[in-house]
């Protein structure tokens, strides 16, 4: 008993020391070239329910980019790390269905981390994750979610990039969730920036992936060294 207590204390000390010396990786992602114009999803306006929720046309979200060419919805992660998931104790990733769109369009979670799907719309959707890595244990499911219905919970045990969630009732609704086996990842915001927090010092390969911007879906890789002060790295992806 005494030994266990000492080991636990030592473990806690090591983790604390790690966080004490860990740094944040920050950066910004821009896109070169001219992204194609987004398409209007005409089915939204013509749908008897969804059409009532929008006064403006709804468009695809392939390239969410501002006038400075800063690119949102880029998944940034450390490469080659496995078995470090803290997903079981991490707060859940929330996906909402709002105005017949999944929000967020691009997200990320750890293996074993709870993914909670909400329905804020006043009518039903069906929530249909379609994983590719079924050999790793990620399971496809298709569940109805009524208006005001209980949240749906999902977890995926294996890493997978851009795991697709869809709604077949409204077949233009998609969300892509990246599942990783460690806690060091981020998705860029509207200004193209990202922060990966509490990365232990060391040398890493960092990769930035976008569904469409080249090189997709493999992304751009860079070698970085993280110190107690952190690290800064920017990426340029290409619209073709």
């Amino acid at each position: 008993m005494k030994t266990k207590t000492i080991l636990a204390a030592l473990g806690g000390l090591i983790v604390s020391l790690q966080f004490a010396t860990a740094g944040d990786i920050t950066g910004k992602i821009t896109v070169s070239g001219k992204p194609p114009a987004e398409l209007e999803i005409k089915a939204v306006a013509s749908d008897v329910n969804c059409g009532k929720l929008h006064s403006e046309p709804v468009h695809t979200r392939f390239y969410v980019v501002n006038d400075k060419n800063e690119l949102a919805d880029v998944f940034v992660t450390l490469k080659g790390i496995s078995g470090k998931s803290t997903g079981a104790s991490a707060p859940p990733l929330i996906i909402d269905q709002k105005g017949c769109e999944y929000v967020p369009y691009i997200g990320a979670a750890q293996t074993g981390q709870k993914i909670v799907v909400k329905n804020s719309d006043p009518f039903l959707h069906n929530v249909h994750p379609t994983p590719v890595n079924k050999a790793g244990g990620n399971k496809e499911a298709n569940m109805a979610q009524m208006a005001g219905g209980a949240d749906l919970n999902f977890t995926f045990p294996a890493p997978e990039n851009f795991l697709r969630f869809k709604c077949d009732v409204h077949p233009w609704m998609f969300s892509y969730i990246n599942i990783v086996d460690h806690p060091w990842f981020a998705v860029t915001g509207k200004d193209g920036s990202f922060t990966i927090k509490n990365v232990p010092p060391g040398k890493y390969t960092i990769v930035a992936m976008h569904r469409k911007a080249a090189p997709a879906p493999a992304g751009v890789e860079k070698e970085i060294e993280v110190t107690a002060e952190g690290a800064k790295v920017d990426f340029v992806l290409e619209a073709k």
Binding site: L39, V48, N126, H128, N142, V169, P171, A218
Partner: protein
């Protein structure tokens, strides 16, 4: 062998078979809309619909993709009912006494069993049912050719097929298997051809124009003319290629890869597109898919190119068939006219294929492509039935043959050929 009730024509039975064929075509259309809209999984459960008995699902909830999928299920149930009625009718017409009663009761029992299974959720029960239906299909084909080609076995075959088809559709939903969707789509086409075949074989046209037995050949019309072995082989081969083409099309549709190549007549601006990994990566970057949002693969690009090439083969094959029919049978022969109609459906089908791409796979255009594809298969199948039957050696019809689909007797020759 069962005993016959009578050998007279049954015009209402024929009309009922035509009605069943029309509803089957409508079912193919609704099924096509389900896949074209990408909403095959809009109702997550089966055989229930969102927990309701499917016949009691409130109309107010028929929204979005649910409308197409649920309508598909209801029309499919109705076609199943029509098929069971057709099977009973054929059985009653061709049998009498105990055989008639037992057969009719068995078919009605199967129908009641299907209704009773609506509340069952065990997949194993339905997989078992699929196995029984497949065995029933094999048995009825065996009995059909053994019992002198009596139509009641085609009725049983149709019933077994529609049951298997329903289970395949349901299993595709609950097992998340796109592959089952490909089988489901192909079997739908074959089922439609089968029902159209029954409609042909029960028609007064068939009785008037197809040589039935030596005693009837004097009164048959000029339509009964000999079709050469080569032409029959050509008709059969072309129809088989159309079936292959429909399988390719079903594979593309159920992988949602109909737009794996978005341009036509070129493919990514070339006669043959580059299919290396880097090129496929570039294609995916440039795709702006609104519904079928899945990366395409080199296999899917190859599949569409194969679909295009097979279309050319079919166009040549059907054109050749039409020309050969005209040369052998004359321009006014019904088979020749059917051949020209067949060629017209292929030309319309080719145009619809092109428009499917040019309209970015608009659901109504893509579904029309499916329907005309079904019509082209059926036209080929009916042409084969007529050509092979008209050219087959004859023997006297057995007493049991209500529809006089006599089994060919080896060594005999058709009267037309003897002339």
């Amino acid at each position: 062998m069962a005993q016959t009730k009578d050998t007279s024509h049954h015009p209402w039975l024929h009309r009922f078979a035509v009605l069943t064929a029309l509803f089957t075509l409508a079912l193919l259309g609704v099924g096509g809309l389900v896949t074209s809209h990408g909403v095959g999984m809009a109702v997550p459960d089966w055989p229930n619909t969102y927990g309701y008995n499917m016949f009691l699902f409130p109309i107010s909830k028929w929204v979005g993709g649910i409308f197409y999928e649920h309508t598909h299920r209801l029309v499919a149930s109705f076609v199943g009912l029509l098929t069971a009625m057709l099977a009973v009718w054929l059985w009653v017409v061709e049998t009498k006494g105990r055989t008639r009663k037992i057969g009719a009761l068995v078919i009605l029992g199967v129908l009641l069993l299907m209704g009773g299974l609506m509340g069952v959720r065990e997949h194993k029960v339905f997989l078992g049912l699929a196995g029984v239906a497949a065995a029933g299909m094999c048995f009825s084909i065996y009995q059909f050719q053994r019992d002198g080609y009596e139509l009641r076995w085609l009725g049983v075959l149709a019933l077994a097929t529609v049951i298997l088809q329903g289970v395949l559709g349901g299993m595709r939903v609950v097992l998340y298997k796109d592959e089952l969707g490909i089988f489901h789509a192909t079997l739908a086409q074959l089922f439609f051809a089968l029902i159209c075949g029954v409609a042909l074989l029960t028609s007064s046209w068939w009785r008037r124009n197809v040589p039935l037995s030596p005693s009837q050949t004097k009164s048959r019309s000029k339509a009964a003319a000999f079709v050469s072995r080569n032409l029959r082989s050509l008709l059969l081969a072309t129809t088989a290629v159309i079936l292959l083409q429909l399988v390719l099309g079903a594979t593309m549709r159920h992988q949602h890869a109909g737009l794996a190549i978005p341009d036509f007549p070129l493919a990514y601006g070339k006669l043959w597109p580059a299919m290396d990994a880097e090129s496929v990566m570039r294609y995916n970057q440039q795709r702006q898919e609104i519904t079928a949002a899945h990366p395409i693969t080199a296999f899917q690009i190859g599949l569409q190119m194969t679909h295009r090439l097979v279309a050319v083969v079919i166009l040549i094959g059907v054109g050749w068939c039409a020309q050969r029919l005209r040369r052998e049978l004359g321009g006014k022969h019904p088979l020749t006219r059917l051949g020209w109609f067949w060629l017209a459906t292929i030309l319309v089908q080719a145009a619809l294929g092109a428009f499917t791409l040019w309209t970015n796979k608009a659901a109504d255009v893509a579904t029309a492509h499916v329907l005309v594809g079904a019509l082209s298969l059926v036209t080929g199948a009916l042409a084969c039935i007529i050509a092979f039957r008209q050219s087959a050696p004859l023997r006297a019809a057995p007493a049991s043959a209500a529809f006089d689909l006599t089994r060919p007797e080896s060594g005999a020759r058709p009267v037309a050929a003897q002339k």
